[in-house]
Every structure is written in C-alpha cells, then in structure tokens.
C-alpha cells in the first residue's frame, strides 16, 4: 500500500530489469504495518464544498480520519451525527456482517454456488448509504451489500437471489450476490469489473440534463481501476461536470494481487482524479464518521452543480476474495489482524460507548437479535427453495427478457427446448 505521506516513499527502481511490484508480506512473513504513517484523526482540514479543486490536491495524498484511537471524534470532518443515526449505521454494519456469515455457511452446505463477503469494509457502503439520499442512485460492485441493508432492503429478497430460488426476482439468471433493486436505488451488479463506474456517470449526466437533484454514486475496487471504464468515468465526469460521487474501495487486494499491481505503489488511488480537475479525497475507510463526512461533502457538491468528486476509501479486505478463494496462499494469515486501521464495527461501537450512547451489553444483544433475524429470514428464503432443493422458477423463463418481446428465433428455440 502506498505511504500516506505524499509519495515520499514512492518506490525507486533498484532492479536493472523489469520492475515487478511485490507486497510487503507473503505467507510466513510477520506482517508489520508500523511503517505506514497515518495522520492522526482530525488532522486534515475540511474545505468548503465550492473550493477550487486545484487548491486541495494534497487531500488526495493525505488520509481523512475522524475517529481516534480512544473512540473520540476529532476535527473539522466530524459530521456530528446524532446518536440514533450512529446506531442505525452500527446496526446496518452488524447486520451486513451477520448476513455475510450466514450466507457463507449456506454456501458451504451446497445450498448456493458462491458468495462474497465484505468483512472489514462494512463502513464503506453503510456510511455512504446514510450520507446519500434514499433516491440517489448507487452503482455498486459486489462488495457493497451494505447499501441495500442500510436502505432497509429485505434480507429475504437478497437471500432469494443468492439461492436462485422461486422467490428470486432475477429469476435465477444471475450468480449469487449480483443483486439488482431499482426500488432501493441499487443498480444491477455486473460481473464485468468496472462497467458500472462509467454507467454511473451517464446516469448522473442524464439527471443533470433534467435539472434534477438526484445524484449518482459509484464504487470500484482498487484492482478494477485499471480497466478502461475507470478512465471513461473520470473523463466524462470531468468534461460534463456530472453530479456523481466516484468511490474507489482500496481494500489492498484484488484476489491475490496487492494494490501495487494496480499502480498503488507509485501514487494513491485518490490522486488519479487530480489530472481531471476532480476534487479527490482519501479517507480512512474503516472510520464510519469519516466515510459519512466525505460522502456528504461530495454529495453536497454534486447536488449544488459543482460536479464530481473522487473518494479513495482506504480499507482492508479482511477475508478471502470469495468462497472460491483461499487468501492464506498469498498473504500471511495474520495480516488482517495486523491491519492498523482496525475494524469499522468495533470502532463505531467504541465511539458510541465513549459517547455514553451504547453499551457492550446492548451491543451483544443486538448482535444476537441480528443473527436471529438473519436466521429467520434464511428459513423463510429456504422455504422458497435453494439452488439444490425445493421450488424453482420454471426453466422456460430463461428464454424471456432477452428482448422486450420474444423474437421469432427465440420462440422457435424455446419450442425446440421442450421447456
């Protein structure tokens, strides 16, 4: 990962041949992140939303943090949220984690084909969801299930998708976790990395053309920033000053490749925005308050017609890439626990406790409650079938909606299929 001091440790070549970036630690190594210099919480100033982007380029090399080690909120970026909002956020993050846990378990039982957790990254989606309006349009990747949960989308609807069962609104067509919910302002997740990023800009352009106040927000992984769509998104957002919040979730890993393989060794991901004149912020992605604050800042800019903002969420993928992955093959088992920016749920919990608005007892009660809610929803969903057993949508349905109306050749093929 890139040093947070503006590029001062950008790697200098020493090998005579081709430079191949390598992560700091591999299996067997003792991970030690003490070399990363993290600015203290509260250290970074909060500019006004209409500041000239060229005046705040340094924000792309810094790290906006609000919650300090003692659980206190510090500095100008503190969004000063009422406790009930914080608890809503905490709850949504905890629900996300509980949901992830169960969905991995049922996958292991063979009831679904696949699953992807967002463990350690819950604040990225949940804090953003609370900072955006309910009708702002989200263009997520597969690791922002927290958006749906923070928008109170029914668990069972998500589970039905994961199970491809008879209740699956997507009719069993998509792999697990490729949710879509127009009602929740949650755009259909694509299997092709990056495509949603540039689409979000188009959506935002359309909203601007309508003079509307709805804005778009998009997420992309550190790894996927190398795709052309990332470049298209920044280019079009800059040219047309689209009202869009462009988030980069730098969780340090892209399956087995560390962020250096996406260019994270030579500069920060946030700094990609500088060349487009897009205000670019770097934020502690495990700090609920900081994520909320920068999202709100960016959303305000967008809504005021001041154009796009790029946000790098500096976080850590605490678990495997997916149920198909075994991260111990390429990084030390202890790396997640050595990660210096902590766990977003614990950090917000501690903050609430420090505020006197929450207790450890309340926390574990809620934990149980959520686990129970997930279990109950799971049962309901399984009654509608799983990939393995139970009711299914009629197979013939998969010939539908290739086009609005079924064209003659598909009518013929459906007949031929005997379905």
């Amino acid at each position: 990962m890139h040093d947070t001091e503006s590029g001062s440790q950008a790697l200098r070549r020493n090998d005579p041949g081709l430079h191949i970036p390598e992560p700091a630690f591999r299996p067997g190594d003792q991970p030690d992140f003490s070399g990363i210099s993290l600015p203290p919480a509260g250290a970074v100033a909060r500019p006004s939303v209409d500041i000239d982007p060229s005046a705040i380029r340094e924000l792309a090399f810094s790290l906006i943090r609000v919650l300090d080690e003692g659980g206190h909120a510090r500095g100008e970026w503190d969004p000063q949220l009422p406790a009930d909002v914080l608890i809503r956020g905490l709850r949504a993050m905890m629900l996300t984690r509980a949901y992830d846990q169960r969905m991995v378990r049922v996958q292991r039982q063979g009831k679904s084909s696949f699953y992807m957790k967002c463990t350690g990254e819950e604040a990225v989606a949940v804090a953003a969801a609370l900072a955006l309006r309910r009708d702002d349009m989200c263009f997520p990747t597969y690791r922002q299930q927290g958006l749906l949960l923070a928008r109170d989308w029914p668990l069972i609807d998500m589970m039905n998708q994961v199970y491809s069962n008879s209740g699956d609104r997507l009719k069993g067509r998509q792999m697990p976790v490729f949710y879509s919910s127009r009602e929740a302002g949650f755009f259909s997740i694509s299997g092709n990395l990056g495509t949603q990023y540039s689409q979000a800009v188009g959506w935002a352009m359309a909203s601007a053309a309508d003079g509307g106040s709805r804005i778009a927000a998009a997420w992309i992984g550190d790894g996927a920033t190398a795709e052309g769509d990332f470049h298209y998104a920044l280019t079009f957002a800059s040219v047309y000053q689209a009202p869009v919040v462009l988030n980069i979730v730098n969780n340090q890993w892209a399956i087995s490749s560390f962020a250096g393989i996406a260019g994270g060794e030579q500069s920060t991901f946030a700094s990609r925005g500088i060349g487009f004149g897009i205000p670019s912020l770097r934020v502690d992605g495990n700090d609920f308050l900081a994520v909320f604050a920068v999202t709100a800042w960016a959303a305000e800019r967008a809504r005021a017609g001041l154009g796009p903002t790029l946000i790098e969420l500096f976080t850590y993928r605490a678990d495997g890439h997916s149920t198909s992955d075994d991260p111990t093959r390429y990084r030390p088992t202890t790396e997640p626990s050595a990660w210096p920016l902590g766990d977003p749920i614990e950090r917000l919990r501690d903050h609430l406790v420090t505020l006197g608005a929450w207790s450890i007892e309340q926390h574990s009660t809620l934990e149980q409650e959520l686990a129970e809610a997930v279990r109950a929803a799971g049962k309901e969903a399984e009654a509608l079938g799983t990939l393995k057993d139970g009711p299914r949508i009629p197979a013939a349905s998969f010939f539908e909606q290739v086009y609005k109306d079924m064209p003659p050749h598909l009518v013929r093929q459906l007949r031929e299929s005997g379905l």
Partner: protein
C-alpha cells in the same frame, strides 16, 4: 440518405424529450458525415453534443442514461472504431434487461457508418455486423435507401432494446451498385428517396422484396442490395432480391418463403466471409429449405483479409462477382 438519417434524429428529438444525441464531432460541427448537421442548433447543446474520443465511454454513458430513463442515440464515427465499446455493448447493453429480469434495460441506438467504397483502407471500411449478430440481446439494422433509413432509424430509436444501426456510408450520397468506374449517381429521382418530412416508422424485423423473381433468391442488405439489383439486371437472371433490413431479429419467414419457391439462394455481404452473417443465413436456409434446395447456397462476400486500400475494387463484392455466383447457382 444522410438527410434522411438526419431527419430521423430530428423527428425523434422533437417528439421525445428523452432522446439525446451525442458522439465525436456530432455537436456544433454536425458530424464528419454531416448526419447531425443542424441538430444542436435546433435542439440545444445539452441534447446534441460532442463526446470525447472514447467509444467505450460513449456507449457506457449511453447505457447509464438509458437506465435513468433517457433514449440515447450515439454515433460511432466509423464502425471500425466500435471495438473499444464491445464490452459495454455485449456485457452490458445486451444483457441489461435479461440480467435484471426487466428492472432495467438499454433503449440505446448506436449509429455507425460501415462498409467500403471510399478508399478508407482497413480502418474506415469494415463491416463488423457479424460480430454483434452473434450476441443475444442486441438488434442489428442496416438500411439500403433513404426511405428505409429514416423509418428504420426512428423505429430503432423508439425501440426499447439496444439497436446497432449500421449505415452503408457508400450509400450516403447515392445508390451505389458497385460500378465504381461509372459516373457517381445521387439519390435524386430514386423512388426510395422520397422521404416524408414527419414521423413514420419502418418496422424492425421485416425484410423487403426489392425484386421478384423465380430463378434464385438473393439475400442482401445495405450497399449489396444495389449490387444485387445490378447483377440481376446485367445477367438477365430472374432473381428474387430480398433486402433484409434487420439482421436481428431476422425475417426468416420471408427468406424461407422465397427460397422454397426459387430453390436456390445466394447470400451476399461486404464483411469477411468466415463466420460472417452470411454463414448464419446459409445455415438457416439449408436448415429450413433443405428439401427445396437444388444447389448449394452460395456466399459472395468480402475476402477473409483486411480491407486493402489500393485494391478496394478487387475486394469489394461487386456485380461481376455476384453475377458469376448467380450463374453458377442457377446452372447447378
């Protein structure tokens, strides 16, 4: 024909406030082929505008606008430059309705000049339709005359599925029949060049019989329709010439009806042969008309090489090559 295309967009912009038109050089300038001339002036800068040189971005942004509720019409300056947009077309636009079970869709139209005949060499002459006709979820339309161009383009824009609209650039200014060594003709006076001012549609998915005949069926589209007409006239062979107009969805009924009657079929296109749309046509004809066929289905196509600049007329499947195929087919 270019005026007809312009008029289609003008009508669409006028009737539906959700229509937006953009692409490289399409705004102030009106497009390198003048297809969008005057549209920005008439409909405003935020409905007709220039786009960055980023075909992938143009289609991506159109998909996003479509998800919002717009009806984007984008121009890819030459069909040869559509490849950077392949991912957004195939993985996104084509599958949006399907993968969301109808929650979202991509009512976008991608216009692009295709084909040779203007000494454009390998990067200004391609006919890539066969790549996209393989993709479930896309529609592909290719007009051969001004009347159809306008009616089909209006229909494409109004269609709620993504439509690739390939415009035979060699036909922009006249009905070119492959006789490159004869004086250039323009559209004036041509019966299919009577283009009504206002709104009309030519339904997608319907072929048109351009010439009735009993000896052999010729399946053509775009520029090749005119080549086929010339070849029929010059050989005296009584060919039935179908202008397919829409490749996907295809008017198979019209094809089968004709081939069952003639018992012979020649397929013609400018694209390279192998795995071109002609392969599909040939396969379909023999699947559906096998016992009526008296000779193998012939393919007359561009050769399986890039389009060579200086040898354009050796590459182009002109009337002489088609005539030879017709003769061979009817003599079998």
């Amino acid at each position: 024909m270019i005026e007809a295309i312009n008029s289609a967009m003008d009508v669409a912009l006028t009737q539906d406030p959700q229509v937006m038109v953009f692409g490289q050089d399409v705004g102030y300038f009106g497009g390198v082929f003048r297809a969008t001339e005057g549209l920005q002036r008439r409909h405003g800068r935020d409905r007709v505008f220039d786009a960055p040189i980023s075909e992938g971005g143009i289609v991506a942004v159109a998909v996003g606008m479509g998800a919002y509720g717009k009806r984007p019409v984008v121009e890819i300056q030459f069909a040869d430059y559509i490849y950077p947009a392949t991912d957004q077309l195939i993985s996104e636009a084509a599958r949006m309705r399907y993968r969301t079970a109808g929650e979202w869709w991509s009512p976008i139209t991608v216009r692009s000049p295709y084909g040779g005949g203007i000494f454009g060499g390998q990067t200004h002459s391609q006919s890539p339709e066969g790549i996209f006709t393989h993709v479930a979820g896309l529609k592909t339309v290719i007009p051969s005359n001004p009347y159809d161009a306008k009616g089909l383009l209006v229909a494409a824009i109004e269609d709620d599925d993504p439509v690739l609209f390939f415009e035979p650039k060699r036909l922009y200014n006249g009905p070119f029949d492959g006789h490159h060594d004869r004086p250039v003709r323009n559209w004036s006076g041509h019966p299919d060049a009577q283009v009504p001012q206002g709104h009309y549609r030519v339904e997608l998915g319907k072929a048109r019989v351009m010439r009735e005949g009993r000896d052999v069926t010729v399946l053509a589209y775009g520029t090749m329709v005119h080549v086929a007409l010339a070849a029929a006239e010059e050989t005296g062979i009584d060919a039935e010439i179908l202008d397919l107009r829409t490749l996907i969805p295809l008017d198979l009924d019209a094809i089968v009806r004709s081939v069952k009657r003639t018992g012979r079929c020649v397929v013609v296109h400018e694209a390279t042969r192998t795995c071109g749309f002609g392969a599909e046509l040939s396969a379909l004809v023999q699947e559906h008309c096998f016992f009526h066929l008296e000779a193998p289905v012939e393919r007359v196509t561009g050769w399986d090489t890039p389009y060579p600049h200086a040898f354009e007329w050796d590459y182009f499947p002109g009337p002489a090559r088609l005539a030879a195929a017709l003769r061979k087919c009817v003599d079998t």
